[in-house]
Symmetry: C2
Subunit: 218 residues, 2 copies
């Protein structure tokens, strides 16, 4: 079963634990755009991405969003099982950015493994530390870095993920990634266009000068 | 030994583990202002506060600061032992805000306990989740909440901690808490003063109208 190859501490479980885990798994496929978890829903369980792309974000009361991290093949989403730990006092929403196939590990199965196995608990620790680091990085970006630098970095990252300089993305979507407003993003993109760094067309941003964006990103 | 009363999972350690832990402890006292840990220093170990007050913050290249959390009696500082986990990819500075007495648990002793004991690993998980939650809260504050609300909340929190409405604190220090500039804080405090909420004098902010600050905090 391919799950074993995606779960790095499989070999540290005893046979009984492996059987319990394997027997509880659910393989799901969701289309792009589907919301998999948010604060109001039941605890969805841990999600292990087989292929696809997920996005975790927070949302203000007025509906503004900011992406806190993205998950790719083999990444595990811990916060979709936040009910597992009483010290997690915040809510994220997890949505599919592409058609995504993933395994669900039911919360109570994982929680029991974590309680009886130090390797599972320590693996969970490393996952949490890694997400925590993502958020600290984001915090530093939003506190100390100006929006033009963040927008340049976002466009370059997006081009790397998509393997294309032609990005099919709306200004609204970019605003939701960066925790900004659509109008602000539009203004900044127009400035980028005037500088010859990008070209804008309906629902599309095309990168013309990678080097200039990289220089701006700093 | 009082350490046992401060360390909630003491009873879940076996005798050998208890002896190793107790034998490795160091009780230290530092004066207000002392920096206990920062990214450039060696891994200080885990700090368990016996009495006093610590502050963890991040700093920009230009020297701007923002407080990410504060630790009081019985709180444990995990990030001062960040070398323990390879997934922690950020650097915080930890400094004493008051004269503080604390135990140091050497990193390698704690790390070994964590590797062999699921309760220790899960306790560490909860600690990390709790700090992670602090930072997510802060992130939401800085993203969605305006500075006047954050300043009102800070003054009320500070008054609660000190048990006094007369706060001996400089505008520079407040700016370092909130990740802002001294000039911006001074302007906002003067606005608060004009509104009759506070009175300013050299090195001091006195709260005159708690209710008005609470209403502003929202």
């Amino acid at each position: 079963m391919a799950f074993q190859d995606h779960f790095p501490i499989w070999g540290k479980l005893d046979q009984d634990q492996q059987e319990r885990l394997a027997g509880s798994l659910l393989l799901r496929t969701v289309p792009k755009g589907k919301i998999l978890h948010n604060g109001d829903m039941d605890c969805a369980g841990l999600l292990l991405v087989r292929r696809g792309q997920l996005r975790a974000y927070i949302q203000s009361e007025e509906g503004r969003q900011i992406t806190i991290y993205r998950l790719f093949d083999r990444d595990m989403c811990l916060l979709s099982a936040s009910c597992m730990m009483r010290s997690i006092q915040f809510e994220v929403t997890v949505a599919a950015e592409k058609d995504t196939e993933f395994w669900v590990i039911p919360t109570e199965v994982y929680q029991r493994l974590m309680e009886e196995s130090a390797p599972v608990a320590n693996y969970t620790n490393e996952l949490m530390a890694s997400r925590f680091s993502d958020v600290m990085w984001l915090m530093e970006q939003t506190m100390w870095k100006s929006l033009d630098k963040r927008l340049a970095a976002f466009l370059l990252e997006e081009a790397a993920i998509e393997g294309s300089r032609e990005l099919k993305i709306t200004h609204e979507t970019i605003a939701n990634y960066l925790g900004s407003h659509r109008e602000v993003i539009t203004r900044m993109l127009r400035y980028f266009q005037n500088e010859g760094m990008v070209e804008l067309s309906r629902g599309k941003v095309t990168i013309l000068q990678v080097e200039k964006l990289q220089a701006l990103e700093g």
